[in-house]
Subunit: 512 residues, 2 copies
């Protein structure tokens, strides 16, 4: 099921036409995550029980005592902890250590012995795509916009994992980093969603229902690419079987949003745990590429050509050949190049270093003012990034939650998992009515033939009554079942049963 959802996600976003799938290592050197800010910032506030040594998140302990302890600073949490003295959830004692910021990354050592270097398991897949920017830029023939996407594991050494698949230490995520030119108009086509009313919860305001187009026009959604990605996200969730009446998009409030983010919307899905954030769509500005550029000194930029070359008048200096020539002799050429690079504000005499490393003193009589025109056909800039990030496990959990239906059959409770065929882990089940008289062989043959088809998962089941086997198949969400009976041996037809309608039709087994 996860394989199917991962593949559906890749296929869905490949539809953009200008994205490519990447796969980067999960073990990441310290320097990369230091540049991204994860080493410094990616932490939870933790306190430890002096009695049983169990670690707890300070904000979780204080949930009963504050409406939003998640937003508190360390000192505020510390005061509240001391005032409220919540008991340890493990042993019931109240003996908390001082609150410390605990980094959420799994650490390890890359290589052996003293030459080993520190590293972490990646907390998200994004960083590998930022550091690959230059290769991507070449791959796309230096034309923006383009995107890179990745499906894979992320790791957070949570202090308190909980709620099953909702908060895992090792989780499956899918991220797209879409690089855009901030100066090109954000005129993404939103017409595909003209008839869809989106449930939006704008930054600190009342929920509204409107189309993406209108939300953009009114400035509720601040960038058209963000809006388009919300539409594509909507389509994806519908495709994998999420009940779209239980999906809303919530905008981050400005104090909740990372300081560099320009807009951020979470797709939240309602299930047995309430509303849970499952997708985040963030306009991250130029933060990521700029951070890696600063840390490495290596350019991560794209070039923008001007419609018309731009000429600028530069006020500067040049040498006075009549005096500088005799004074500097063979070095005169280098002196000229150096002087022409000096700003107009330079005062002479000035001591300057030449290209060959020599230092010379330039007197006022060696130079004269110089005005030049500089013609530029384009410029280098740091692209902006719009990032849709999907929590695959959380989506799977909600797909199951929404597909689970308790019905009644003959006065007994009957469970059906109404999974969309696109995500059902078993596509079809094959049953022999009895495992004798050749029915088992015929069923096994059909099963083998279906198994040989790429992408089809067939299940053979010969134990128990047919009713019991249908019930087992319904319980795990198999969309279709085939039964081989006495008639099959005579005329080559089988019974095909649909999970959701219960309808049974006889079809020739060769047509399957």
């Amino acid at each position: 099921m996860r394989s199917k959802i991962n593949q559906a996600w890749i296929d869905h976003w490949l539809g953009l036409g200008n994205v490519v799938e990447l796969s980067c290592p999960t073990v990441t050197p310290y320097a990369v995550l230091e540049a991204s800010g994860h080493v410094g910032e990616f932490s939870d506030f933790m306190t430890q029980c002096g009695s049983c040594q169990e670690a707890s998140r300070a904000d979780s302990l204080l949930e009963a005592h504050h409406p939003n302890p998640d937003a508190l600073k360390r000192d505020e949490l510390q005061s509240l902890l001391e005032a409220e003295k919540p008991p340890c959830p493990a042993c019931g004692m109240t003996d908390w250590s001082e609150i410390l910021a605990q980094n959420l990354m799994f650490n390890t050592t890359i290589g052996a012995g003293a030459s080993g270097r520190p590293g972490f398991l990646r907390p998200e897949t994004a960083q590998g795509m930022f550091t690959s920017f230059n290769a991507l830029y070449r791959h796309f023939r230096e034309r923006l916009p383009f995107g890179a996407m990745q499906v894979g594991k992320g790791y957070r050494n949570e202090i308190a994992p909980r709620q099953g698949m909702i908060r895992l230490r090792e989780f499956n995520m899918a991220e797209l980093e879409y690089f855009i030119d901030p100066e090109s108009p954000a005129d993404d086509d939103l017409s595909a969603w003209d008839t869809v009313s989106f449930a939006l919860v704008p930054d600190g305001k009342k929920p509204v229902e409107m189309t993406l187009e209108v939300a953009c026009q009114q400035g509720v959604i601040r960038h058209a690419t963000v809006a388009r990605f919300m539409g594509i996200t909507y389509d994806f969730l519908a495709k994998v079987g999420i009940d779209m009446n239980r999906v809303r998009f919530r905008q981050h409030e400005s104090d909740e949003m990372a300081h560099y983010a320009m807009d951020c919307w979470d797709a939240e899905i309602e299930g047995s745990f309430g509303w849970i954030e499952c997708v985040g769509i963030a306009h991250r500005g130029c933060y990521d590429l700029e951070s890696h550029e600063k840390a490495t000194g290596k350019s991560l930029r794209a070039r923008r050509e001007f419609d018309e070359p731009r000429t600028t008048l530069v006020d500067a200096w040049t040498i006075d050949g009549a005096t500088a020539g005799p004074a500097f002799k063979a070095l005169a050429g280098q002196v000229k190049a150096t002087v022409e690079g000096l700003p107009k504000s330079t005062t002479f005499p000035a001591t300057v270093a030449l290209e060959n490393g020599e230092t010379v003193v330039i007197e006022p009589e060696h130079v004269k003012p110089n005005q030049r025109t500089l013609k530029e056909t384009g410029e280098w800039y740091i692209p902006h990034v719009v990032e849709p990030a999907f929590g695959i496990d959380r989506i799977i959990w909600h797909v199951l939650d929404h597909a689970y239906a308790e019905q009644e059959k003959n006065g007994e409770a009957y469970t059906v998992m109404q999974l969309a065929p696109a995500v059902a882990p078993v596509d079809i089940a094959v049953f022999p009515l009895f495992e004798k008289e050749g029915m088992d062989d015929a069923a096994a043959k059909i099963h083998q033939r279906l198994c040989g088809r790429p992408g089809t998962v067939s299940m053979y089941d010969g134990s128990g009554s047919i009713g019991r086997r249908y019930a087992r198949a319904d319980e795990i969400g198999v969309p279709q079942c085939i039964t081989v009976d006495h008639q099959t041996l005579q005329d080559g037809t089988v019974t095909l049963r649909e999970r959701d309608t219960g309808e049974q039709v006889r079809v020739p087994m060769d047509s399957l």
Copy 2:
């Protein structure tokens, strides 16, 4: 390309009809890998340069001084190192530390603070499948044989990674654990490979060419399931584009094989680095399940029903009601149950503990000999495992190596990557002859339509001459290219060009 090869691998083995895909965590608790033997055994011998601190593998340093240093024990390596004094490959000095066994697993800590537990990144995907045995056994309705397979990352903190994709610290692997009943006949059908002559290098003997059937009959391959999996492996490698004239199967020599393994064959592929092991197919006996059973005390067994119930005569004791009744009164029932469980060799008087915890002394006059028949309809046993393990990165590397062809075109060197369509990362490229007069729009439309098709990767390229664009597509192995030209705008046809033949035909664009 890796996504495609992974998916092709899953689809290929799903054809068995009785296997299921799993996904287990990569971060693995200490206890699991202690039980599997990895904590104790999974290591390389390392020495460190006293001058530059660089760590090196002792066997690598001594490659020039011994035919097979890999097989030497620690003390032998130590003596050889001291005798030969090889220079440090990093700094050239000769100042080696004592040789130590260095475990190859990446270590980390699961959870925070003092309650954190030690763990490792998994060195293989197999262990999660062994520990899931009981769930798998239920899933398959308690009928063997069945298999579980997994595609994912494995981690080895190699002291000296080298040869690009051949020896990585973080690698992609695909493993199948196939559980069989060792007492059921190994009569796997090998007829599908009757016409294929396999290049075999049997344990320490000369290479031979023979069919799998003959190799099994002659005892060269020791188990028919191993032979069948060699056949399925052969088909897979052919499907992804490996040149099958450069594949051989080499049997492990007995001293190279793990002590518990009953047979082991490597599929080796010849490429620019020589013959490299890319797949291992091992009959692992009952080693894995037995190890986990011992470590946890939890049964990992399957039940085998006897054709006929088996009755055995048991010589034992029972109580003599006439004497024991009055002696033990209300306890007589418990005394009877306890005495009937004692072996015939027991001597009386004997002090025994009853079920309720009380201790009683049983005198000779309380008991009399008793013969009972015990009827059993089946028994529990530890299944054996046959494991095909694929190194996905090594296979990708050889697919590229075999697909790479240098040709000549108009007197110039011309590179083509002749990838099989099943693995080519880009399926089709779309070119407008010129990016004007509507040709660019028409091409973009075709590109968008192809991108919307699940599983199809299309590439749009509008820069440079058509010849240059064909060359770029050939270089990355795109099987087909489409060109949109003036005629397209008139009659809706495009040019479709095949990479391998260079043939160009005009086809209606709606037929694509």
